[in-house]
């Protein structure tokens, strides 16, 4: 144990300033960092709306927002400013250049410009603009058919709701701006240090920054408390990387140190580039005492960084406020829109066409009527002067009906959708079951526009490290000399004391090993390029490092040769068991057998195993070998082969020490989550930069791959052709007929369909998995192979893509989005996942240890992978169901409402006469029917969360968008037509022959209006009552309250007082009293309701009975169980049996051995204290 752990454990290098980010995260996509860095005080609401010219979104600004005006102004200034000149400590000079001060402004409005600017922005939304145009149409007396207020009042309400929301957002931004601008900072002024506010800092000022303080502006580092003017900073807020970075000042300024006199007399002139958003680029020249010094980005502290491990430093302010690189990078993000948004736009277009068609029919009807009847009716109602013929009249009527039927396009649709999404996002933020106590983080819906898409996810693209796993390696067990030891207890069974030392290793595996060794009393203290200092049970020993036999994928092992203090030359080797077994000395065969058994046990527990062996080499052999080694290293031809030959010479006849088992801890509940998601037919792909072995191991551990799978394909071709063959081979096995010419997909593809086309779903003959590495993927993603890849890959249940670059991750997501009509979700935690998070329909960030990069770019942030199932199956599903119910109902109620005018046209000479009182038209959408549908779409649950999680199959309808699509929309239309038909003709026919008991007729227009609108409201209320499955008190209040409220308003609007005051506005005096006390009116209403609702109930009741979908069967079972609460079915426990997979699952990279022995990383030996940091 003793030797083994020390020997293996001291191998990893501890980087001087702690490259804390694990090696597999070293693959970072540079441009991601540049484009996506955002300030941390940005709120999710701050996503500025940005649009694409290629499509005109209906509900969002099609013109740039006012923000862009501001931006363009500042851009103008920048384009003028080619080079920036400034002089330290010279405010007079610097002020002549007109640089902005350090105030930042993320707010968009001020008190004065709020109203005009906000209105201006809102009218750029097509929906609002439409209603504005409608309003102008209404003001034209020739075609006006509705009072102006029928449009103005709803429009005002919609606008003010949005305005209030914008105002609240902006107030938050103002508060944040104020908070930031008023932070205090120390400024050097005339030889003294003065405290000032951030916003008063100006270009050319010299400021003092202290440890753990955020940097105020972009400053040129002058001097610091550390030697050589070094300063350590953390850039997590800027680019998401948590590792410390070092900045160094030029020597001439570092000599200023903290001498205030020198600092305030420092008059260096800086000439540098104009402000830009490139975080890793800065060029400039400092002129001081007649000499020029070049400046680069290593000398610039950027705003948003935090000073670490440095007591103080002084800096010269270069860029302030809006010119800082942070602000230059801030605030722009692409706006994701859901499938539902696109569908709505299409449907609104349909409605427009439908509307146009109806208006056309009615206009023609009007023309005919005027010709046949209206012409002769002129005795009673002469035509207007401008109407010369029935054709003119018909044209005018077209527009009149366009105004009347405008409610087909529902004005409050978009604002309601926004409210619903906002509400459902709040539920995510409020969910205690997605709150992660250890990190004190609740789930966070950073976007409030994608909710229903959470209920439609078909593909999940997941990162591995930090997402599926915790990215924590723990030394769990070991087998030494044939005996298994558990972790955490010493030989006396006492719990070992954990010291404070924290290592920052290049791979977490090695970190785990070194940490374990430390805990057992073998403390790795420091290293140079030639020595390793270890404190062994309190006794300091220095090992001479002779050579490192580096790791490679082929060797799957690495060794180190050291000279012990006792002057013995020892080789220690650790590696994959399969490899190491063959290198062992025959004498340890029995030990090997025992150890192999132990390895089986370890693998059974899902641990990552390593074998450790040693060899004692005599000095002469080593010298000879060393010579060969140097020769091999220097050779020009076949160097790799020669080196590995030399290595092989050394790594033989090894004596087995034992094996280690490291637990790559999965996050809690990951396998269960994946099983649940699989049941919901969500396909999970792992896209990782990690190695294949590791990825596959994890895939098995978390049930993405299962033992009982029918086959797992590995695509690792190194060129076009092999990749194609491998893909086709895989497909042949999964679905042999898919290779035939006669396959429908093939015939479809042979027709060379126009982009964008969709590839239909193909069903394989079993459960398959596929592994593809990044290298092959690069070929597969090329034009002619991408369809091959897509078809093969989509048939697999689980897919592992390893060795992926961030860009490839995004490409895979894009590929899926391009050819499949599916919703994709990407989940990840690191900066390398940002690209795919942004590319996918929904990006989920795991708030983990790796900075905030992923989180800042995500749409939803959760702290554990297992919350994903709740996010999708509970919140997503509910949101989707609610949205669909909402839309169905919303369209239905508006159709039923509007189409009544159409029927009435045939009985009113097509004269654009409305059926209803104008006040009813004004209030219908806004007051009478808005609250019930809001309560439906905020509170409804078809089944509770327990059932949604227990029966993931319930998620299925969302994936195929079964609850609201074009077909459902047509159903709504048909239902609306039917309802309006019933609601018009039943009252019409019944009222026709009916009189009051005292002989007064009741078929006058106003009574009829009242009757029809009351019946309509009753029908739509009963309809929503049927749609609501989850009746809370609020639903009752909203639903029945709205109906009651209608009657209250009715009696108010038709009251004597109001009508006497405004006789020409409120004309319906006394109608409510005279009509609603007639029993036949109520009978008509009942009959209409019965006739409208009966078919709906019948359809809903009979459909699951005769044509049950899978969901209906499950619902039936659930209903059965809820009614007879016997023992609910227990969830099958997950089995953790898995065969042994030998794993050299190191997230290692080749080449570190050479790095260490070269001593390059050791140049800062002076700062030993930084080779490890103490836990705070």
């Amino acid at each position: 144990m003793r030797e083994g752990v020390v020997g293996g454990g001291t191998l990893p290098l501890t980087l001087p300033w702690g490259a804390r980010a694990p090696a597999q995260k070293a693959l970072r996509w540079r441009s991601v960092k540049l484009t996506s860095a955002r300030q941390w005080w940005c709120f999710s609401e701050m996503k500025y709306i940005k649009c694409f010219i290629s499509e005109i979104p209906w509900n969002y600004s099609w013109y740039y927002s006012a923000m862009s005006l501001v931006e363009s102004q500042s851009e103008d200034r920048q384009s003028e400013e080619q080079v920036r000149y400034l002089q330290a400590n010279s405010r007079e000079l610097n002020s002549t250049f007109g640089y902005p001060n350090n105030t930042i402004k993320t707010s968009r409005y001020s008190v004065f410009n709020f109203l005009p600017l906000n209105l201006f922005e809102q009218f750029q939304r097509l929906a609002n603009a439409y209603f504005l145009i409608l309003l102008f149409l209404q003001l034209i007396p020739q075609i006006s058919s509705l009072a102006w207020y029928t449009t103005v009042i709803p429009l005002m309400v919609v606008l003010s709701i949005t305005a209030v929301k914008d105002a609240i957002d902006d107030v938050k931004r103002h508060q944040n701006d104020n908070h930031v601008n008023n932070r205090s900072v120390l400024v050097v002024m005339n030889g003294r240090i003065k405290e000032d506010k951030w916003m008063n800092i100006q270009v050319g000022d010299i400021i003092k920054l202290k440890n753990n303080q955020p940097v105020t502006a972009d400053v040129l580092l002058l001097s610091s408390s550390e030697p050589y003017g070094l300063t350590y900073i953390e850039t997590a807020e800027l680019d998401g990387e948590t590792n410390l970075k070092v900045k160094q000042s030029i020597s001439v300024t570092s000599n200023l140190e903290d001498n205030l006199g020198l600092l305030s007399s420092f008059d260096g002139k800086v000439r540098c580039e104009s402000p830009n958003n490139k975080l890793d680029k800065f060029t400039g020249i400092l002129t001081f005492k007649g000499k020029n010094y070049t400046l680069d980005h290593d000398k610039l502290l950027l705003r948003g960084c935090i000073i670490r491990n440095t007591d103080w430093c002084y800096g010269l302010v270069i860029y302030t406020g809006p010119d800082t690189k942070l602000m230059q990078n801030c605030g722009k993000s692409t706006f994701k829109r859901t499938h539902m948004d696109h569908l709505l736009n299409v449907l609104v277009l349909w409605i427009f066409l439908f509307l146009g068609g109806m208006c056309f029919i009615l206009a023609i009807g009007h023309g005919i009527w005027e010709n046949k009847k209206g012409y002769y009716f002129q005795d009673f109602l002469p035509w207007e002067e401008y109407v010369s013929s029935s054709v003119v009249s018909a044209i005018l009527t077209f527009w009149s009906y366009f105004i009347i039927l405008n409610t087909m396009v529902p004005i409050s649709l978009y604002v309601s959708v926004e409210i619903i999404r906002l509400g459902n996002s709040c539920y995510i933020n409020w969910d205690r079951k997605m709150y992660y106590a250890p990190k004190n983080t609740p789930a966070q819906a950073r976007t409030t526009t994608l909710n229903e898409e959470l209920g439609q996810v078909k593909y999940v693209f997941s990162d591995k490290t930090g997402t599926l796993t915790q990215n924590i390696m723990i030394f769990n067990k070991c087998s030494i000399n044939g005996i298994i030891y558990g972790y955490g207890y010493d030989k006396n069974g006492q719990r070992v004391e954990v010291s404070e030392l924290v290592y920052q290793a290049q791979s977490p595996d090695e970190g785990a090993l070194v940490t374990a060794a430390r805990n057992f009393g073998f403390v790795f203290r420091s290293r140079t390029s030639e020595t390793i200092m270890v404190v062994e049970m309190g006794e300091t020993k220095v090992y001479q490092l002779l050579a490192i036999l580096d790791f490679s994928n082929v060797r799957k092992r690495m060794s180190v040769i050291v000279r012990t203090p006792e002057d013995r030359v020892m080789l220690f080797c650790k590696g994959a068991d399969t490899i190491l077994c063959q290198l062992l000395h025959p004498s340890c065969r029995s030990l090997r057998d025992v150890t192999m058994e132990h390895l089986d046990d370890f693998a059974f527990e899902g641990l990552r195993t390593l074998m450790v062996a040693y060899r004692e080499v005599d000095n002469a052999f080593y010298q000879a070998w060393s010579k060969k080694h140097s020769e091999a290293c220097l050779s020009l031809e076949n160097r790799e082969d020669k080196i590995s030959d030399v290595y092989r010479e050394m790594e033989k006849d090894l004596m087995l020490l034992g094996a280690t088992a490291i637990e790559d801890k999965l996050q809690d509940g990951v396998p269960e989550t994946i099983t649940t998601l699989n049941k919901a037919k969500i396909k999970i792909w792992v896209l990782t930069g990690d190695k294949q072995e590791t990825a596959v191991n994890i895939a098995y551990a978390c049930n993405i791959f299962e033992e009982e799978m029918d086959g797992i394909f590995i695509v690792e071709g190194k060129n076009d052709e092999t990749v194609r063959q491998e893909l086709r081979l895989a497909r042949k096995k999964m679905k042999p007929e898919s290779l035939l010419e006669s396959d429908p997909v093939n015939t479809y593809l042979n027709t060379k369909p126009q982009m964008p086309f969709r590839i239909p779903e193909e069903v394989p003959n079993g459960n398959y998995g596929l592994i593809i590495n990044g290298y092959s993927l690069a070929y597969a993603l090329e034009g002619n192979l991408e369809l091959e890849l897509l078809r093969t890959v989509c048939m697999c249940k689980g897919v592992i893509c390893c060795r992926m670059t961030p860009l490839q991750k995004a490409q895979v997501v894009e590929l899926m989005k391009r050819y499949k009509e599916v919703v994709t979700l990407a989940i990840g935690d690191g900066a390398n996942d940002v690209s795919m998070i942004k590319a996918a329909h929904i990006g989920v960030g795991i708030t983990g240890q790796e900075g905030m990069q992923a989180m800042l770019n995500s749409d939803y942030a959760i702290s554990q992978f297992c919350y994903l199932q709740r996010l999708l199956l509970v919140h997503g599903r509910w949101s989707y169901n609610r949205m669909c119910k909402f839309l169905s109902y919303f369209f239905y109620k508006n159709f039923a409402f509007t189409l009544m005018h159409f029927w009435y046209a045939f009985f009113s000479g097509f004269s654009a006469q409305t059926v209803y009182d104008t006040w009813f038209i004004t209030f219908y959408n806004l007051v009478y029917t808005s609250l019930p549908v809001l309560s439906l779409s905020l509170f409804d649950q078809d089944v509770n969360e327990t059932w949604s999680l227990r029966f993931p199959e319930l998620y299925d309808p969302g994936q195929h968008n079964l609850y609201f699509n074009k077909k459902e929309f047509v159903k709504c239309l048909v239902r609306g037509i039917y309802s309006s038909f019933v609601l018009f003709f039943i009252p019409m026919k019944t009222i026709h022959n009916s009189v009051h008991s005292d002989g007064k007729e009741i078929s006058d227009y106003q009574s009829f209006s009242l009757l029809v609108q009351t019946a309509l409201l009753c029908v739509v209320t009963v309809q929503i009552a049927l749609d609501t499955t989850y009746w809370t008190l609020i639903s009752h209040i909203f639903t029945w309250g709205s109906l009651g409220f209608y009657f209250c308003i009715l009696f108010l609007l038709y009251s004597d007082g109001l009508c006497l005051m405004f006789p020409n506005v409120f004309q319906f005096l006394g109608v409510a009293r005279n009509t609603l006390n007639l029993p036949q009116m109520w009978l008509i209403i009942i009959l209409s309701v019965v006739l409208c609702i009966l078919p709906v109930i019948g359809y809903r009741f009979l459909k699951p009975l005769f044509w049950p979908a899978d969901v209906d069967k499950i619902m039936n079972r659930i209903h059965l169980w809820t009614r007879h609460p016997l023992l609910p079915p227990t969830q099958t426990k997950l089995r953790h049996t898995r065969p042994r997979r030998s794993a050299y699952a190191f997230s290692h990279k080749q080449g570190f051995g050479a790095l260490i022995t070269s001593g390059k990383t050791m140049k800062d030996k002076v700062f030993k204290k930084n080779s490890f940091s103490f836990k705070k």
């Binding site: 006469q913 002989g999 499955t1029 009746w1031 005096l1069 006394g1070």
Partner: protein, 307 residues
């Protein structure tokens, strides 16, 4: 490490039923028993109501006499607009096979007269009809002012096109002596119309009150001469006028014209067996509107049948 002040307070969301979506609620399910029982209950209800309504409707008797064709010569006369003030009468005898017991109402019914046209229905001034502002004729186009600019009272297309046929029902007790059936011209409007919505301008003398206004172009006499016998039925308060002003919803409509005054022979209703004559003093007629007189007994309810 950072912002420790924020981290010290827990961000655990509230445990309220609303925020956790755990509000106590009732689950509505379409169960077989629920749906079927609801279905049958509705059926039984509708059936019951339907039977009651059919039975009650049986006691209602209705006679409709169309006089457009019979009074064809009058219709012809009216085709020429200049003859609007010429009187034209015609009578139609009919036979009542059985007694109409109870209250009897007389309606006039117009076919194809579009009282619901958009511009027609707007063409009135409620403030004028309320007597508050006689000069307020802004909404009355195209009948707001006469050629010389005098405001019309009552203004608007509705008022201008008032139905002003005079219908007299005579009862031939003996074959020679017709008795005019006594009819009431009051109580045929809504209370709210007669007492709230329509008011004459305040003045002792109506003709003075309406000074400064002129009669609608199609009217034979000004509004204050509509019923000179009964001041309560004159001016805007004229029942026939109020009835007409309540525009009908459909082009074919009937409006209450007179009620039977149950005195003398008619205390029981209209006696059967003998011939009646309807004499219409047709002063106004358009050839395309069919007109008819309805005689109805009691009321007639809609039919309600089981679906």
């Amino acid at each position: 490490m950072k912002r420790t002040s924020e981290e010290s307070q827990s961000r655990l969301p509230d445990n309220s039923a609303l925020k956790q979506q755990q509000l106590p609620a009732y689950w509505l399910q379409l169960t077989a028993t629920g749906v079927l029982s609801g279905f049958f209950a509705t059926g039984v209800f509708c059936l019951g109501v339907g039977i009651i309504l059919i039975l009650s409707a049986k006691s209602i008797k209705e006679i409709e006499i169309k006089y457009t064709k019979i009074c064809g010569n009058c219709a012809k006369l009216r085709e020429d607009a200049t003859n609007f003030d010429k009187e034209c009468t015609c009578s139609i005898p009919f036979y009542l096979s059985e007694t109409m017991q109870g209250n009897v109402y007389m309606y006039y019914k117009l076919y194809g007269f579009y009282q619901n046209l958009y511009r027609y229905i707007l063409s009135r001034s409620n403030s004028q009809l309320m007597g508050t502002d006689l000069k307020d004729v802004g909404t009355c186009a195209p009948f707001s002012k006469s050629h010389d600019g005098t405001p019309i009272a009552p203004c608007g297309a509705i008022a201008n096109s008032i139905f002003n046929d005079t219908i007299i029902l005579s009862y031939n007790l003996n074959s020679s002596i017709p008795i005019e059936v006594p009819m009431l011209r009051s109580g045929i409007t809504w209370w709210t119309d007669k007492y709230v919505k329509f008011r004459n301008p305040r003045s002792k003398n109506l003709s003075i009150a309406f000074a400064g206004t002129t009669k609608p172009p199609s009217w034979a006499k000004p509004v204050y001469e509509l019923d000179q016998e009964d001041p309560e039925n004159n001016g805007f308060l004229n029942d026939d006028f109020i009835v007409w002003m309540r525009a009908a919803a459909f082009p074919t409509f009937k409006k209450l014209y007179r009620r039977l005054n149950r005195i003398q022979y008619f205390t029981e209703g209209l006696p059967a067996g003998l011939a009646y004559t309807v004499t219409g003093a047709v002063t106004w007629l358009a050839f395309f509107s069919m007109m008819a007189i309805h005689l109805m007994l009691k009321d007639r309810k809609m039919f309600f049948t089981e679906q």
